[in-house]
Amino acid sequence: MNDMSAAKMNEPLKPADFATDQEVRWCPGCGDYAILKCMQRTLPDLGVTRENTVFVSGIGCSSRFPYYMNTYGFHTIHGRAPAIATGLKLANNDLDVWVVTGDGDGLSIGGNHLMHALRRNVDLKILLFNNKIYGLTKGQYSPTSDVGTRSPSTPDGSLDPSLDPISFALGANAPFVARTVDTAQKHMPIVFTRAHQFKGTAFVEILQNCIVYNDDVWAKVTDKASAPDHQLHLEHGKPMLFGKDNEKGIRFNPATFSLEVVTLGNGVDLEHIQVHDETSLPLAQMVARLGHKEGEPVAMGVIYAAPRGETYTEAVLGRVASAKGRRSLQDIMKAGETWVVE
């Protein structure tokens, strides 16, 4: 061990300890910078070590993330990070493994692997940077792009309906699903922390601005002036209120079997407002869709968290551990029908 790290050994780690000496190569003003800073700020508070932390990513601007984290890191191939991370956990379940992916990486080419990592409940913390565009390949539309998105490959506007990452994750049976946004420097660490504390697959959609190819796709959600009307901050057990003065809320309408926006007053009281319950899957599925209609806020925070006990890797490795050592390879080869040649 070199002197520098020996001296540092016993000191608590600082954000700078999680930064590498590599030049960050995102475009100036890219939302990825804010997410990186936030992660470097959050990790020291989580009490983790650099050596036990691994960032695994696919391909895309977002997937450059591991190069800038002074932990272990694996920049893999397009869409396959969840599969590689699953194997890594099967080799060493003690590691803290974060997966960084994009809307194209995770939902287009890698949709299959993401789906299965989510349902298997592998103890991975999956961060999907959603800029609704393929950044690295210079701006083609992605599976999360809104219909009508103009891009080099859709000069007249895209035609195919988009995918909602949160609904996808819930549909894939993920036990933990949350959303945050690159501009929310205070909110992001809370969500990262909750994801890290959760035992099992944790999926976090991070709304991210690509200043070059899809600037302002999230403007309504992030602009100071409009944000209060477009962000719904969820808290378990608390009524779903939003607006500058919390004057609006979300109500369940049994007639339409859906959530609707209401303004408090005129007979609408706090008691009519839906209370967030992280453990309710039907509620989470409805909350996930908020924001798709005009006037609806986008839900932020932990949308769903229902721990499942043992994780996939614990279960697999547990079985191996309890069987291990019963017989040797030599025993196995000698078992069954054998004969001796003198």
Partner: protein
């Protein structure tokens, strides 16, 4: 018994019937008993791709061939001496192979108009007298089986299922084999349904008794094949899939690593997944992934984490793994990829054998992406070949392609159980200290050119790797042109250097120089070997070299070929090794190919040798 027992050196028996007739099981049990009697043997299970093809059709025929003898058995035999045909379709599809004068046992109970029509016979071949070239033995096995099991209260369908045991009983009698191993096995298999065990045993005994009675009336002959003289030791039968699985576990143990095996089911590779999934006792972790891409990625992720990542598939799945194998080459992580080859392209012939993925193994990736390729040549050989693949993977920090094929995977042969303590370990030394200048993952061993390996969890050695080109000096991302040249050269040199770390190519049979060198690889070992033996006996100046290391080739291979006037390369593909040999050595290697989904017959290769030598 009074009648004479005829002693034979070897015999080839083929059981053929409908998919539902249990021919694979019959063959498997005959094999086990034969192995226990000390014969050498080789088997060839040949079954349809359909799980349950319509009853009685020619494409639903399932066959199992065994060649066994008192001498070393190299192939499954060109032509059966005995053919058991359980229905007209089986007769139709297999009769062509039976040697003239061979024994033909037919279950006449199935030769009804409907089955004959399904098999495409206009007239009953038995009545039409078209089978007079063979020793035809007509038995209504169906009826005799029903009689044998009538006291067990089985339904007609269940009772008829015992037909295969009746037939097996007869064959055990014919070749003077013991019934106990089969009865023990039946008792174990049907321990929860003792009536079924008893019924099957009754059918087995009835078939055996039939032989004895028929012998008295001199309609049936009995044969004896003595034990082969093999090296002393403890033996068992082993299939290629078993041996390769055990070899992987042995290799990982010698490397001091745990196995993490990622796979996705595909014929004929699945038995490896099944075998390893049952080996938790040895710490083997298996992962049935969502597809082949995830399977190889999980294996690579596990290697990154310090396990030995292994993945297995067949051609179509290997195609999907290509990009991730490239990542393993670029990040220089160990990985073993097993390809149980089958007929291609595309879905091709899933249950039939071929060696047509050699190009895919050597060249099948984007970029200059060399990796070592090792081939197995028989079921038992899979064990050592797998150990070699593991050794090269960890010693050179590289993915290794281990080629086997559907024939080897399913075939069984007697195998001397190796003593694991005699294998030299090749323990992996992880880097645990960053060193003065800090940890550089791409610092290399001067001799092997293998990079430093530190695994997550090691304090001070935190580092990032990925598929982008890395600086030779620092391991960081580098787009520098000269650096890419250097790294590409280095990766190529690392793999090329393995030629000095593998055994020199030997001549398997024949002289070191001569008129013709037959160069083979993989499962053609048996037929080439026998064909060359015959050719040598005819006085031809021919030799046989069988290549295990297909990339890089053994260092002496070029010189070795120079000792011969001609070179012939029999392969079950359209001439792939031939092309690689020509490219590497500028030699005039001549192709000799077969892609029918069936292994080479000895005589085919022998004729090829004669033709090349004008003999």
């Amino acid at each position: 018994m009074s009648a004479e027992i005829q002693h034979l050196e070897s015999a080839v028996v083929r059981f053929a019937g409908d998919s539902g007739d249990g021919m694979q099981l019959t063959g498997g049990r005959f094999t086990a008993t034969t192995a226990l009697s000390g014969n050498d043997l080789a088997t060839f299970p040949d079954f349809p791709a359909e799980i349950r093809a319509p009853v009685g059709t020619t494409f639903g025929v399932s066959a199992f061939q065994i060649n066994f003898g008192a001498k070393a058995i190299m192939t499954v035999g060109d032509r059966p001496d005995v053919l058991v045909a359980m229905n007209p379709a089986a007769l139709k599809t297999n009769l062509g192979d039976l040697r003239s004068g061979g024994v033909l046992v037919v279950d006449t109970g199935t030769f009804n108009p409907r089955n004959l029509q399904k098999a495409g016979y206009d007239a009953d071949p038995i009545e039409a007298g078209t089978l007079k070239d063979y020793q035809l033995i007509e038995i209504d096995i169906s009826k005799l089986t029903l009689e044998a099991v009538k006291d067990f209260g089985l339904g007609n369908k269940e009772a008829l299922r015992c037909k295969n045991m009746w037939t097996l009983g007869l064959m055990l009698w014919m070749f003077s084999r013991k019934r106990e191993p089969v009865t023990n096995w039946l008792q174990k298999k049907f321990s929860k349904a003792p009536t079924l065990a008893d019924a099957n045993i009754a059918a087995l005994n009835a078939g055996h008794a039939f032989g004895e009675t028929a012998e008295l009336s001199a309609t049936l002959k009995r044969y004896q094949i003595d034990a082969v003289k093999s090296e002393p030791g403890l033996y068992r039968t082993v299939t290629g899939s078993q041996a390769i699985s055990w070899g992987i576990v042995a290799g990982a143990e010698l490397a001091g690593l745990n196995v993490m095996f990622g796979s996705y089911p595909i014929t004929p590779a699945s038995p490896v997944l099944h075998t390893l999934s049952g080996m938790k006792e040895l710490g083997v972790v298996t992962f049935q992934a969502e597809d082949e891409i995830a399977a190889v990625c999980a294996a690579l992720g596990a290697s990154y984490g310090g396990a030995l990542g292994v993945t297995s598939s067949s051609g179509p799945g290997i195609a999907l793994k290509g990009e991730a194998i490239g990542l393993a080459i670029s990040t220089e992580l160990p990985l073993v990829i097993i390809n149980s080859q089958r007929g291609g392209p595309s879905t091709g012939l899933p249950t039939k054998t071929e060696q047509s993925d050699l190009y895919q193994a050597i060249y099948g990736r984007n970029g200059d992406a060399p990796l070592p390729v090792v081939a197995t040549s028989s079921p038992g050989d899979c064990f050592d070949a797998a150990i070699e693949a593991c050794r090269l993977a960890v010693k050179y920090m590289t993915p290794v392609m281990l080629l086997t094929d559907g024939f080897i995977a399913n075939a069984a042969e007697p195998w001397k159980i190796p003593d694991l303590s005699t294998y030299a370990p090749f323990k992996v030394q992880f880097v645990t200290e960053p060193g003065e200048a800090g940890f550089n993952p791409f610092k290399r061993d001067e001799k092997t050119l293998a990079r430093n390996w530190a695994i997550p969890g090691t304090p001070g050695c935190e580092h990032r790797i990925g598929g982008i080109e890395k600086s030779f000096a620092t391991g960081h991302i580098s787009y520098d042109p000269a650096n890419h040249q250097k790294m590409t050269d280095t990766r190529a040199n690392k793999i090329a250097g393995i030629a000095n770390d593998i055994p020199a190519q030997t001549i398997d049979q024949g002289e070191a120089t001569g008129d013709l060198l037959v160069v083979g690889w993989g499962s053609t070992y048996g037929p080439i070997s026998e064909a060359v033996r015959c050719a040598l006996a005819e006085g031809l100046k021919v030799s046989h070299a069988h290549i295990r290391y297909l990339n890089p080739f053994p260092a002496n291979l070029g010189d070795l070929m120079k000792g011969f006037k001609q070179i012939m390369v029999p392969e079950m593909n359209h001439g792939q090794l031939k092309t690689v040999l020509r490219d590497t050595y500028l030699v005039d290697a001549k192709p000799f190919t077969k892609v029918s989904g069936q292994p080479f017959k000895i005589v085919e290769i022998l004729d090829g040798i004669r033709a090349m030598l004008g003999a």
